[in-house]
Amino acid sequence: MSNKDDILKRYRANVREKYDMPDLSDIKATTYPNPLVQFVKMTEMVGGQVIEVDSGRDINVLIKELFPDAKEIASNLPEITIATRNPDTVGRARDLNGTDVGIIRGMFGVAENACIWIPQTMKEKAVCFISENLIILLPKSQIVNNMHEAYKRIEFDNEYDGYGTFISGPSKTADIAQVLVMGAQAARSATVLLLPD
């Protein structure tokens, strides 16, 4: 008998009363009069920065202004023309180490906790974590209220269908004496560029 059969057999022999699945449709989840305002507030609270980009503004110029000293910029987004590295074409994921600014696309944001859904849309997802500073491009019309709404609409990429993540602000830790420090193992800063539709 396989391990799986063994384990399931033992479980079936031991499990007692069975309980029904509860109805989740009646959860009275918090919504916001203006989800975008809440999203911005929460992003700042979790240590991120939000910049609303006016239509007609060149985001490449903006990024250069934000990070004037950045030497290595990684992105596979077609609208990013200042990239020096491309996560689709690097030889190995580790070649993305030393990236000053990584630029990726978010699908939608969540007002209650500043999460942004980021499906893997590049060959090496390392760019989302290995960069010193992370920039997430997000259409400002794409904000949902809460995680219930978020989990109804997350989708993985067709090509890179193995991974997706919610990111809320920069990497952080309080593991040394409970002192909050931004920039643990992943990006030390997170900037959300809210793009016009």
Binding site: L8, E124, T165, D175, Q178
Partner: protein, 456 residues
């Protein structure tokens, strides 16, 4: 009941400054949790739903496990089933050996602690590097976690600073947490880049999609799986939940309850390996769970989502620290899981509870932690772990309280005990006097006061 926990706590209490800091720190985390909980009108409803989802899932686990494994295999993952800790360690080692792995980076996993995987792999010549900062600190220090979410909470910044000076070559005397975190970042970055494999635990496994969901603040689970060519996930059977709608409930609660944040920074869904890596392995671990489900009084401990809020609020944990417990998970949930694991070995922990029930009032999955501890206490005699001194005291008390004449005589005469010189009464022979002063008995009993109408 035993005095094992209180004896162990003496060590913790030797440093009163630190003990006070520990208590205050966890109370602050508890307060942050309250702010988060009160910030959502639906919080109590979410707790109800979370509990009901878990009750349903863990009593239909055979179906959900089968669905999860089938889906994960369809996605291209290799799924393993481990009956116990030893089998788990063998399976993991087998995978690593097949891929000729010399160095493994791993994110935090209480399951690998439970199975004592790190020492097993190290004995077999594999270098294991913990990448959660707290876990890394205690690994360098050669210690075990003292809290499930904040594993290095028993060390202060000077302890960590001195450790890093010795192990990571940090600047002498610079014990600033921001600087030390940066030193660890650089050192771990090198480990991520040079590791042959990455391992993660799992906060949730989603039956409907086969996703492994890992929540971290540091991004270390993502770093551990972004560069190495191999990803292994370790997941306990009870971590499987049906679908994304259920996940939404738990995702909203996990971090709010555990650390008082609205979310972890990263909530990552791993469905299969990166295009440039080898297939992802998932190891499903039983190690007692399929038996615990049959325990009529304690099966609900399997609802736990390991947020740590029960220890943050526990007045005993806050004042005694993680190392005072004999099981590797401390606090209320650890007391209960330890008893399920080995009651003979861990029954000392059931004394580490005031039955205040703060834990179960807070638990996001509504595990009846305090009630369970109470129930375990009723069984100590069966386990042969009841304290004989306390048993005798209880027998004596039931004699006194069960006999009106003896009781009245005893309370009437009690005030004579006040005359016994203090050194005789507040001494080691009297366990009652340990840690607190002996009380003064009143001259006139309440009973007599009441009869004379002196009590209004």
């Amino acid at each position: 009941m035993s005095t094992a926990h209180s004896n162990a706590a003496k060590e913790f209490l030797k440093n009163q400054t630190y003990a006070k800091w520990h208590d205050a720190t966890f109370w602050a985390v508890r307060t942050k949790r309250d702010n988060m909980a009160y910030g959502l009108d639906e919080w109590e409803q979410l707790r109800e739903k979370a509990s009901a989802i878990k009750r349903h899932t863990i009593t239909h686990l055979d179906e959900y496990l089968d669905q999860f494994a089938t889906k994960a295999e369809e996605n291209g993952c290799i799924v393993h089933w481990a009956k116990d800790a030893h089998e788990f360690n063998e399976i993991v080692y087998g995978i690593l050996k097949n891929h000729n792995v010399k160095k493994l980076v791993k994110s935090k996993s209480m399951l690998t602690e439970e199975c004592e995987m790190n020492p097993y792999l190290e004995q077999h010549g594999i270098e294991v590097v913990e990448t959660d900062l707290g876990e890394r600190i205690i690994q360098l220090k050669g210690q075990a976690p003292s809290h499930i979410v904040m594993p290095a909470i028993h060390l202060n910044h000077d302890d960590v600073g001195e450790l890093f000076e010795e192990k990571l070559g940090s600047e002498k005397g610079n014990h600033d947490p921001t600087y030390l975190t940066y030193v660890a970042r650089l050192s771990l970055r090198n480990e991520f880049l040079t590791a042959d494999a990455g391992m993660t635990g799992a906060n949730f496994g989603i039956a409907e999609t086969g996703d492994i969901v890992v929540c971290t603040n540091e991004g270390n689970a993502d770093m551990s799986t972004s560069c190495p060519k191999l990803h292994i996930t370790a997941i306990g059977l009870e971590k499987i939940i049906p679908n994304y709608d259920c996940l939404a409930v738990f995702q909203r609660m996990l971090c709010r309850a555990g650390t008082g944040q609205p979310t972890t920074t990263f909530t990552s869904h791993f469905r299969k390996a990166r295009p440039t890596a080898n297939p992802m392995h998932i190891v499903l671990v039983d190690n007692g769970r399929s038996e615990w489900i049959g325990n009529p009084e304690h099966w609900e401990a399997l609802k736990c989502i390991r947020c740590g809020s029960c220890m943050n609020t526990c007045p005993v944990y806050r004042r005694s620290g993680g190392y005072s417990y004999s099981y590797f998970i401390p606090g209320p949930i650890g007391i209960n899981l330890g008893m399920l694991r080995d009651p003979q070995k861990h029954s000392g922990n059931v004394s580490a509870c005031t039955l205040c029930n703060s834990c179960q009032t807070l638990c996001p999955a509504k595990v009846n932690l305090g009630d369970q501890i109470y129930m375990w206490r009723q069984q100590l005699d069966e386990f042969g772990t009841a304290n004989s001194q306390k048993k005798m005291m209880c027998k004596g008390m039931s004699m006194v309280y069960g006999n009106e004449g003896v009781y009245n005589l005893g309370t009437a005469l009690a005030h004579w005990a006040n005359l016994i010189p203090s050194p005789l009464i507040n001494c080691g022979m009297n366990p009652w006097a340990e840690g607190h002063k002996m009380m003064k008995f009143p001259k006139e009993t309440f009973h007599s006061l009441w009869k004379k109408g002196k009590v209004k």
